[in-house]
């Protein structure tokens, strides 16, 4: 019976060091942000108050961390125990995605020293979609760390603690499925209120449904993506079979999603906007083609045995879902009045710094903690 083990190996690899350097540079921009305000580092404006950090680090970042959620659904709701080996790496990715989204939030909000206000009952606005997202994400981060704790406890040999947590783990697993369902869909509802400023190609009452389904298949895509990369570099057990099954589930979900998405646009009478040849129309076509093609490819059984094909399909699906969120939050958002936005060098560097942190943590974790099954 193969179990998870640390992959060992040198920590200070070139990749790790480059990421470290990028992170250090981003610290300079972060300092500038806190000393001089958001305007000094970002291109955010009154027309585009949300930009790269919210759209990418928070919305996309947490969506990319839906691997844990998606795998938990398969294993615990659909009872597919054989997927279990993929759970831990997925959980780890979720951990990073969500924790660092929290870091991005602290960087992005203007009055960060009062951020805890949303946890105080007398300040909470229960009508606010964003409040629900914030509370859910906060709770989910805690759940993820608890779910992940056995991995740490194994390394430090704390067997009693590990046994205790494993006994009550079922509560947290259940929460770990409930909470993302709530907040990933609500991340779609967040943009419903901006109906007058969001292109009809993206605004719909079904935004929560679309965000939820897309985050689930994105979670699977991330699992395939990550396992493929790790598998191509490190001596881990070959998970191609499992990845093939996951890819199959993914293909079906994409099919359901595309039907809902396109039917919704057609019924609301806005399909013509997709073919105008302008930026918005092309973005809409691109985001859906990047889903349609891999879906078709993955419906072919032979392709689900080919590691390279599955990797490329996963990449396409990740890009598509990332683009869908960028479109909903930034590109499809037009406040009118002559505003436009593109992230500044400072904004990009800070996001890069956060991603670099993530990569460095990922490398340390897989080498020093039992995450993957070894050969």
């Amino acid at each position: 019976m193969k179990t998870e083990q640390p992959l060992e190996g040198k920590i200070l690899t070139p990749t790790f060091l480059i990421c470290g350097l990028i992170f250090l540079i981003s610290l300079i921009f972060m300092a500038k942000r806190f000393l001089y305000g958001l305007g000094a580092v970002t291109n955010l404006s009154d027309g585009y108050p949300w930009g790269l950090w919210i759209a990418f680090d928070v919305v996309i970042g947490t969506a990319l961390g839906c691997g844990g959620y998606a795998m938990a659904l398969l294993v615990y709701v659909f009872n597919k125990g054989e997927y279990h080996p993929l759970v831990r790496p997925a959980l780890m990715t979720s951990l990073f995605g969500y924790t660092l989204a929290g870091v991005a939030v602290v960087l992005d909000v203007g009055r960060y020293w009062q951020l805890y206000n949303i946890f105080l009952p007398w300040y909470m606005n229960l009508n606010s979609v964003l409040l629900e997202v914030a509370l859910c994400v906060g709770a989910y981060v805690a759940v993820l760390w608890i779910e992940f704790s056995p991995t740490f406890l194994t390394k430090f040999g704390a067997d009693n603690a590990k046994a205790f947590i494993n006994k009550i783990m079922f509560v947290f697993i259940a929460l770990g499925i409930l909470l993302p369902t709530m907040h990933q869909s609500s991340l779609g509802t967040v943009m419903v209120v901006a109906g007058s400023k969001l292109s009809p190609l993206w605004w719909t009452r079904l935004l929560p449904v679309l965000f939820l389904i897309s985050c689930i298949f994105l979670g699977y895509a991330i699992v395939v993506f990550e396992s493929s990369i790790t598998g191509s570099r490190y001596p881990i057990h070959d998970e191609t079979d499992l990845l093939g099954k996951v890819s199959g589930v993914m293909a079906w979900l994409i099919a359901i999603y595309l039907v809902i998405r396109l039917a919704d646009v057609v019924i609301r009478g806005h399909l013509n906007l997709a073919f105008r040849g302008d930026l918005l129309g092309n973005m809409f076509l691109l985001e859906n083609i990047l889903l349609l093609v891999p879906m078709a490819v993955l419906f072919v059984p032979a392709n689900r045995k080919n590691a390279r094909v599955m990797f490329l399909c996963a990449v396409s699906i990740v890009l598509a879902t990332v683009l869908f969120r960028f479109n909903t939050y930034i590109i499809g958002f037009d406040p009118g009045n002559g505003w436009h936005y593109f992230p500044s060098v400072g904004e990009i560097f800070i996001s890069l710094g956060i991603v670099s942190m993530e990569i460095m943590a990922f490398l340390w974790f897989i080498k020093r903690l039992p995450i993957y099954r070894r050969l």
């Binding site: 958001l38 203007g110 949303i118 099954k245 009045n337």
Partner: protein, 317 residues
């Protein structure tokens, strides 16, 4: 790949229950006008673009001067901002010779917070930093609650809340209908200083009646118009202009307490064309459908506990 069809359908049904938001379900959270709401009636046809309202607003609210270019002699913002709560903008078309004409004409529009009946910013703010007074309906901001997330900026259909981008300890800034002056028995500075009666302060129900009266005026005939405050005995006599047959803010976006009349179509003046049902109501509808009383989440949680325990038991076998 084989998924047992039964399991698949079970899972799908569960997900659908958790995620679908059929509009037919749950009562809509439509808001009605408050009976004692206070507001402003801005009549673009009476406005002469003197901008005294901008000066008075800056003085009354201690706002800093804003320069839009290298010339630093005047306060000349191009839009509302963290330094400017109220602005007069000018519409121009062709050779702008005639006032309040759409083609080859010009007109003025006053922009500031509309103090909506169903404010998107109040609904959006997670920390209750923006609140709507339950009597006057004025929407005010509390910096001690605010976390600076700027969701209010995303939500507002009029793009009113502005942010202090150049301040390391920033606030959101917007017109608060001179709440601090109302407390002293005075009226908003813009209305108090307007020389032509273009900005008129008063209870919204009276302003709506006045707006209808103006819509029914015969263009070219002379009528009496109140100055500054609708209850003021001081009246001016003006020739009535041809109005666009619409009171902006009566129903737009769920209704606003700042009403507008104009001689040029409102969309040309930069005002957004909004449906009568506010997007706020739509978003709140979705949330209430899913989360009212936290019933659905608790039921789902119970179901998930059951499923997880069953899986764990199976694993042990």
């Amino acid at each position: 790949m084989k998924i047992k069809r039964r399991d698949f359908l079970k899972g799908l049904a569960g997900s659908a229950v958790l995620a679908m938001a059929p509009p037919a379900m749950a009562a809509s959270s439509e808001k009605n006008r408050l009976p004692d709401a206070l507001g402003i009636l801005y009549d673009s046809t009476l406005c002469v673009g003197c901008q005294v309202c901008m000066v008075a607003c800056k003085r009354a609210n201690n706002m800093p001067i804003e320069f839009s270019g290298a010339q630093r002699q005047w306060d000349n913002p191009v839009d509302l901002s963290s330094k400017t709560l109220n602005i007069i903008k000018e519409y121009e078309n062709g050779t702008p010779k005639t006032k309040d004409r759409e083609i080859d004409g010009y007109a003025f529009i006053k922009r500031h917070c509309m103090h909506c009946v169903d404010p998107a910013c109040v609904s959006a703010c997670p920390a209750t930093a923006l609140t709507k007074n339950t009597k006057t309906g004025i929407v005010t901001y509390n910096k001690d609650a605010c976390i600076g997330c700027r969701y209010c900026q995303v939500a507002c259909p009029f793009d009113i809340p502005k942010f202090e981008w150049d301040n390391p300890f920033p606030k959101i800034v917007k017109c608060q209908l001179c709440n601090h002056l109302l407390a002293k028995g005075q009226i908003p500075a813009c209305c108090g200083s307007c020389p032509t009666g273009a900005s008129l302060f008063g209870p919204v129900k009276d302003l709506l009646i006045e707006a209808e009266r103006r819509q029914n005026m015969t263009p070219g005939k002379y009528y009496e118009f109140a100055e500054s405050d609708i209850s003021s005995p001081k009246k001016q006599v003006h020739k009535a202009n041809k109005y666009i047959p619409n009171i902006y803010g009566k129903n737009d976006g769920g209704g606003t307490q700042v009403l507008m009349l104009a001689g040029v179509p409102f969309n040309k003046l930069g005002l957004p064309m909004l449906p009568d049902r506010s997007y706020t109501a739509i978003a709140e509808n979705i949330q209430h459908t899913l989360y009212k009383g936290m019933i659905l989440p608790i039921v789902a949680f119970g179901g998930l506990i059951f499923l997880v325990k069953r899986t764990e038991k199976k694993k042990k076998e």
